[in-house]
Symmetry: C2
Subunit: 457 residues, 2 copies
């Protein structure tokens, strides 16, 4: 008899669970249909890329982006829209940059260049010196220790490794040369740095991105060149046709500027003091429209609000959709948001970031403990019809500081094959975004937020 | 004792199998590294798209494409390259097409149009008639039965359904209006047909594609208009601002032309009389470069040969890499190849086709019986590091005729989200292809061919 009751209990519970996930499955289908049929993320992205344009922290366009996304949030149906003040670095590229190889026979070859973000400029007359190519820091150290770096320009020619299937792994391997490279070279007396662009393809576009000076070293000017130019320079050096490079930049860091995170709020119906955060970063590099990086993540995060409202779904927990300011060259917006979360009486339980491009979503990355995993991964199968998996590990530069308040980290992981063709380059434009891919990503975020909002962690 | 022996036997076999799949896993890694590092498919595609260009069956460019890919096959290292003769239809678009809406107030609005492939042209003076919009065949039938179609132009305005996650499902739902639509309309006395482009996005590019006349009906001229123009026309009709459309085309079908399939052969070392086929189609529509459709599949199929040769792998079974001619408006190349296979003493055991774009591969589709599945799917895990799954069902228009000789059908299934943005439109250009995505797809095909070649089915 006891056994029968247990069995009945199991069947009963199974029915509840099954019934619930059937409802969830129907809800997710409605959400996908709504976003794929009526999604507004791509049209919003058109405005952000074509009307606002490049929007580096501290620029007038970053200010326009704040106003534009606050409007989009209201139009999407956010209950409230908050502008959260934060001070941001204000780096400017200045006048047109130039660079050229100087051949042994006196002829010249113009390089297409972009100063690295946060870099100091060259002297007004520019910088001319011999170029020393290194493939990695080990080579730098060897040459530096032998006194062969002093007074020269270091050329870091470290390609993104094409054999990594996930391109972010190759980026992680190459990006230290952009980040720490200039100060590492300065340590050995280099006067300037040229970095091969962190690009997965061969083309003529330099990719910028932040360099981070070590304050104990002299700050030397640093530029990126395209992958094609890097190959050209490397060959010319190998054949001893070239020894000197000239380049001129007038970039500089100005005093900090006041700026804002833009936060759209959808108040929870049952547990409003538990907050789920979804976001991307609003600033972009100055070379392009910042369509994938990270207009996409921002527009997807606004679309989450729109979809909930359009379907008349009031989430149990509060959803905050956040346009983080200053991810690219400071991370101040993310820090400011976490500061608020620390002081706030509410609990920031879950945060998902979309900052890997607006490409077709492959997985929702989740950093969970065992109990959370046992619960949440049972919902993975609801995502299968949309070709979205769950994967281990989530997070992002802007939501990262929330770790200090115990927030569960998540990320939208789009397919990574195309990202580093356009990342931080002038090719990161609206035309490189597919509306369906962008909207499927927005769906993925809306769906996981719905599941977490209704079920907790 | 018997038990122990069985156990030992199991361990022994497990070791062999495990050892084998470890070797396979290493081989696949080498293959991926080779293709991702030194792959030539994208550069070959550059030649095919930019130097050869659009290459509809029977055109001079189709002839150039035959010569160019025969050269590429030889350069890739094929043991022999065969040109297999086949007669193909020769449809030509003729002089520039035009179309316009004629407003009630006499004003006009130019539509951007493309005649459907295989369509007859209009009378020399063009065609002017009232337009009747229908969403589907049920509406056509109702209006036709009531006598409201006779003498008019039928406008099929059937959008691709955005809620299908796999866009090929939406294409399958919409494409009958292009294929059978003109003859269905002619049945009720229509004098012409306008089809909303089978496109997943809204833009200004008409997408062409084959129409297939029913010989028992009058052949009436048919054109495609862009999705934006379809919306415009539909609104104008709804608001009764427009009743008439004029269009003029001079397309026509010429006598059949001689053409060729191009077949590159890699002779098997142990079972040369068992043939594995890999291919795409060499012809493309005349509006664009045919980069995704299907330059990609052709260049990937050549890359398979190159990768085997570059790695010094002589497959146990023979691999034939086939550039099928005339997939778009006749399928003659596929039929010719299967005819040969029927007469040939050899066994055509397996065929994989890539004709769904050069996008990131998501799965290898396989049509297998239970025994074959039990064997082949055990290798699926070797593909996981490359984010490629196995999926049920494979095939394709060009390899389809091989079913008659019992060939196992397979297909490379790339991500489908972007395909119908460019399919059959002038936007199907090299720039819409990502080199890494293209090469990962080539790897997927090379890898499954290696597995089948070494292990059989």
């Amino acid at each position: 008899m006891k056994k029968s009751i247990s069995l009945l209990a199991v069947i009963f519970i199974a029915n509840i669970l099954y019934g619930q996930t059937t409802e969830d499955s129907v809800l997710l289908r409605r959400m996908a249909n709504e976003i794929l049929s009526n999604g507004n993320a791509y049209e919003n992205l058109r405005f952000l890329t074509k009307k606002v344009g490049p929007r580096l922290s501290g620029s007038p366009q970053a200010g326009s982006a704040v106003l534009a996304t606050a409007r989009m949030m209201r139009e999407a149906g956010a209950d409230t829209v908050i502008l959260q003040e934060c001070m941001v670095p204000h780096w400017v590229r200045g006048a047109k940059e130039s660079a050229k190889l100087i051949f042994a026979n006196g002829k010249e070859y113009a390089l297409k260049v972009a100063a690295l973000g946060n870099s100091v400029g060259t002297p007004t007359a520019g910088l001319k010196a011999n170029v020393i190519e290194v493939r990695n820091f080990a080579e730098l150290e060897k040459l530096g220790t032998a006194g062969n770096i002093k007074g020269n320009i270091v050329f870091y020619n470290h390609p993104m490794d094409p054999t990594f299937i996930k391109t972010f792994m190759a980026y992680g391997d190459a990006v230290p040369y952009r980040g720490r490279g200039p100060s590492m070279a300065a340590k050995y007396g280099a006067v300037g740095v040229i970095v091969r662009s962190m690009a997965s393809n061969k083309d003529d576009h330099p990719h910028t991105g932040a360099t981070v000076y070590n304050d104990s070293m002299p700050k030397i000017p640093a530029i990126a060149i395209s992958t094609n130019d890097a190959e050209y320079l490397s060959n010319a050096l190998r054949m001893r046709m070239v020894s000197q490079v000239y380049f001129k930049t007038s970039c500089k860091m100005l005093p900090d500027e006041k700026s804002y995170n833009v936060i759209g709020v959808l108040r929870g119906s049952e547990l409003p003091d538990e907050v789920l955060t979804v976001g991307g970063h609003l600033d972009s590099w100055d070379l392009a429209e910042g369509a994938h990086d990270d207009g996409a993540g921002c527009m997807q995060s606004i679309e989450v609000i729109r979809a909930f409202k359009a379907l008349g779904i009031r989430p149990k927990r509060t959803i905050q959709s956040v346009m983080f300011m200053n991810e690219e060259n400071g991370g101040r917006g993310g820090e400011k948001y976490a500061e608020m979360a620390k002081k706030d009486g509410r609990k920031f339980v879950f945060a998902i970031e979309s900052d890997a491009g607006g490409f077709v979503p492959r997985s929702i990355g989740l950093s969970l403990n065992a109990a959370q995993k046992a619960k949440l991964w049972s919902f993975e199968r609801l995502f299968k019809p949309y070709a979205i998996e769950f994967s281990e590990g989530g997070g992002g530069a802007d939501i990262g500081p929330l770790r200090s308040v115990g927030t569960v980290m998540s990320s939208l992981n789009p397919d990574s094959q195309r990202y580093f063709e356009v990342h931080h380059a002038e090719t990161d434009v609206l035309e490189s975004v597919s509306p369906r891919e962008l909207h499927l990503g927005a769906f993925g975020m809306a769906a996981i937020l719905y599941i977490v909002s209704e079920n907790g962690l």
